[in-house]
Symmetry: D2
């Protein structure tokens, strides 16, 4: 089977690099088009990232297959269309780093031009007819795409997004409990987030040596609201967020390179599961990506650790290709009902890896060809 | 006024060193006796800590006034008695690092021998007639000392302890609200604790580089229960813990040298104060140590920071000699009622500095002479 | 081809774990025997490393193929012999962590019992008839093995060691220049070494947060002398160290997980190569492991980086499976002749990976079957 | 005695803040004028640094005495002249952070307007008639000031600078040996430099977590050349750099907040002192600032540490108010003659503290009034 040619918008940034790294040997997709800011345009990809290649996969270099791609200006959609005609760009991953309004407009232009846009950006997360996907949680939200296309007069193009990296460490475990029949009323979560989540350069080392910063701009709002859209339903061509659970997030930046940790307290409505039942639910949780054996899907979406001091970011972030959520310290909560610690890789599960998994789902569903 | 001569038990350990550093120029107390493990006994203090002096005050050296103190074996109380007779040891700070049972027994032996023992250890925290003091919160608990002395047949000796370092970042702010008339029903706190809290060597660097550890043995239990004793009352010669609030603690070790951060969510019973009222209460909070102008007392026990990203451990731990609790990010909680971030210096406010303040209070009350 | 069954002595320690991780899918060797201290004996490998698995390959778990190996007491050679008879242990990698004398004796007992011993320990590095191998530099030193066996009356058993991790970042580049015909008279090297080089727990986090330690016990002596044995010749059944270059090493421990960096100044005797010639020599350097295409051999032993700020440990340590030495900042020296920065992965190239490459060389030469 | 009123140019930056912190209780000088970029102009000092106050002295706040100073635009010298007339600015410390050419011109304008300018910037370090002072090493270079004033037609104004922070850890110890009669031919130094040396934000945390960067732009050139000007002589109204020693510097950025460490190898010409003699020279070294008992002068400019693993940045940088250079690991060098490790506080000794000491010297000499 010939691989589907894919373009990366924002290919030289932190998340763009992670896309390049993760797609190096992908069985379905192949990077054949790279676009970034005008500053990088015209350079080969290798030149464009020289001195700022951060992905460590590949031992400090991008994969040779992309070295000689000439980076295009992401604002010039005509270039992408030409690449499309040449068979080099069937759809795009958006890892754009610009103002929110610019990203929103540009992604719409790509979609209008016929490109499926799988976006990592926050710009369209609250657009009512744009699905915000965690492939294991709300794959059915892809059903809104035809309505999106129709309403906007788009043909094959559409926009699908993924949620913020901060919510990945608790949303899937919480969903697994909901799917098992438990009602969840309240969630209080404190996150300890890695610096790579802020892109490069991100936090100054003066703020991250012998220090933590108990604040990340905009992150608590995202962490509290995005799960509700993901848990919501489709009505009249729009995704209607769920009304609960009530979520309170304290977001902290800590001196960790990759891997977001979440300390979670839950309150159940109705029946409260025993700790052993919670572990069983998480151990046995499988969803559509696992059934379909999508290439990027982790074998087990939730890995239960029994050690008293796990999960830990450096040791557990890479579990199952960086795509699994590791949970541990599952115990009763003295103020609500249940406590646990969740951990996921923010630039893999929480960014490029999650985007690729969404693209695999969309390909399976026929939206990407 | 002649200074009161004081001894340090466990003088060569992490907390013992901090006592030495903080007492270097104390107006009331003077270190004239140092005891530690048999391994250090017989050495001068300077020799005993050579190569393992961690307190940075003094530019890498202990204060010259203690260089030539000959370290004694802490197990040999006869030495302390001899020092007492020589006018060199009126009371002791216990910073012992041994098994809990050994510490409990040894501290009792010092008290029986006539020494007031101001302890940093956890051994006697749950002994019903031993006060666990935060000088701004429960100074009235010193009233139990006569009952303690009587029940045990001790003359001038007694034991008073201080709580765990992890609770200092939220207990005083919570108490200030209680004192202002607000009922607090539930507290959920996630702590980000500094490595110095574990003594030396403490956590391995392999666990603290590009990593956090979401577990500290025994710390969550202490963090949940100790505030209740501090908020309790005296009945029949025993301190009876308060029945609430319900406290749930997630304790994390993070790569920070000094300074424990706490992300706190509170639920009020009855009336819920407005955010501005909470800030006013904290800004205006003063207690006995401030009224008495005790030397180690911070001017303001709680410092309210208005910046959106403070308090931070490296920048705020030293506020008011390391004795103030800094609070910030005071805002409503989406799941309970109120959220804030508290921070205190764990080896000053949370250990040696807190012990010295307690000793100052006990001196004022006449228990130390 | 059936894989050769191999045992790991010290299988539960830091380097032992790295052997387990690197051999997970090795084309020639398969771990079928694991031995460690009596404390671990009798446990399955998975139990024995629970809570202290540090290798991050595998996402926080050892490879499933070794989970159920029952760990044996490394002191009981009878167990290894039984495994050998059962076809489970043809040779051993020694990653023992004990006193030097004990390791020396135990490794000799294994060799006497018929096992080729490929050792990571320093115990036998200065035994005159034991080769200390960097496969790209002195593969010819394997020729001493028959003399070693004869002198000691050993049959198939023998001992071969690898040098200290600190020298890998400069010895291969220096050798490449020597091989190209340049004489090197003096080397001054400052190393910035990762904490994993000290095993677990290794340096305390209190010494590695906001700090560096300009001292590593015994490391400077090893760094100055070991290259001389490697560059030496065989005479009368003994390896005679080279007489130069004079090497001066400043060894520093820095807060880096993996990857030793070396800042090197060189003085040439005779002809002094131009910077471009130095780069050419390093870029073109290939040696026996490359010619033989040994599985663990890097494609290029020395990778020349042109960026002004590379190599860097986190970004470059994994180059070519962690087996290449990355060099950069190649420039004239204002006090000697040439300066550069070298970097290698200390637990891969500098420990388990280097040991495996040596075993591959010894298998090719027929010493391991 | 009334204090001399002083202004800080670049008062809101990293070094400017350090000046504010160190001058809080200075016996001779008092900050009464603060100037910075137009962005800060018009704000009170407290507002201008809100959220970016990095100096930890003062517990996270600048000293109250400067809270209400209205920050002026440093480009508007008329403001400084008005302050001068009002008795609020007798001279200025320059901690400007701009382009080199702009700084050079602006400092000259201040000097022309009658202000002594004590600068931390590199702009005028190689201006032949501008002294580059380490108060213990070349105080006699202040003698060039009259020639500077005359050549430029300046009245009371002049410019004096201090050298780069990187050279402080070895230049004073090296000078002490020269002063004791030893000739030094070659120096090879590897520095491990703290991130605060780069100002704020400085290095990205992604480059300083689990990493070091073996490159600092322009730093090696400064480290190699500036000592030669300091060791030079005055001839015909110009400072003529010394011709030696030859210095080779490898400059590395490491994850340390404050404190530059230097690993130094020296070659002597002529007589080579014994290690004990070297220690004696350093222990006994005293210079003009010590004789004059200048307020900021350390009691001992060079502190010899005997522990095998000292000096270390976090433990030793604050020695003697952060003004002493700590040296240790004094031992023979296997390639040159002598090795040692030097350490100094880069934002105190190496920046604001060094500047203040220079101002004290200049006041003593009558150049500041």
């Amino acid at each position: 089977m010939a691989k589907i040619p894919v373009g990366i918008l924002g290919a030289t940034g932190m998340v763009g690099q992670q896309y390049i790294a993760l797609l190096a040997n992908h069985p379905w997709f192949e990077v054949r088009y790279a676009a970034a800011s005008p500053r990088s345009a015209g350079k080969t990809y290798r030149e464009a990232v020289a001195g700022r290649w951060h992905a460590t996969a590949g031992g400090g270099f991008p994969h040779p297959s992309v070295w000689d791609l000439v980076v295009q200006d992401a604002n010039e959609i005509s270039r992408a269309l030409a690449a499309n005609k040449a068979g080099d760009c069937a759809f795009v991953f958006s890892a754009l780093e610009m103002g929110k309004d610019e990203i929103r407009a540009l992604e719409e232009q790509y979609a209008a031009a016929g490109f499926p846009v799988i976006s990592n950006a926050s710009a369209h997360r609250w657009t009512a007819d744009v699905p915000m996907l965690i492939a294991e949680v709300n794959p059915q939200h892809t059903d809104i795409i035809p309505a999106q296309q129709k309403a906007r007069g788009w043909d094959r193009g559409f926009i699908a997004v993924k949620p913020n990296c901060s919510i990945q460490s608790y949303t899937t475990p919480v969903y697994a409990l909901i799917k098992a029949g438990y009602e969840i009323k309240r969630i209080i979560v404190s996150t300890l987030q890695a610096v790579s989540g802020a892109g490069y350069p991100g936090p100054a080392s003066l703020d991250m040596l012998d220090n933590i910063v108990p604040y990340i701009g905009g992150e608590e709002e995202k962490s509290e609201k995005e799960p509700l859209k993901i848990l919501g339903g489709i009505r009249d061509g729009a995704i209607v967020p769920a009304e609960g659970p009530a979520i309170s997030a304290h977001c902290n930046r800590v001196p960790v390179v990759d891997g977001h940790t979440a300390c979670v307290s839950l309150e159940f409505g109705g029946q409260k599961p025993h700790i052993d039942e919670v572990k069983r639910v998480w151990r046995e949780f499988r969803a559509l990506p696992q059934e379909l054996e999508l290439p990027m899907a982790p074998e087990r979406p939730v890995i239960v650790r029994e050690e008293e001091d796990r999960p830990q970011p450096r040791k557990d972030r890479d579990a199952d290709k960086g795509m699994a959520v590791s949970v541990g310290r599952i115990r009763p909560c003295a103020a609500l009902d249940l406590r646990f610690v969740g951990l996921s890789h923010n630039t893999i599960r929480g960014a490029a890896g999650g985007g690729i998994l969404n693209a695999e789902l969309l390909k399976f569903r026929g939206y990407i060809q």
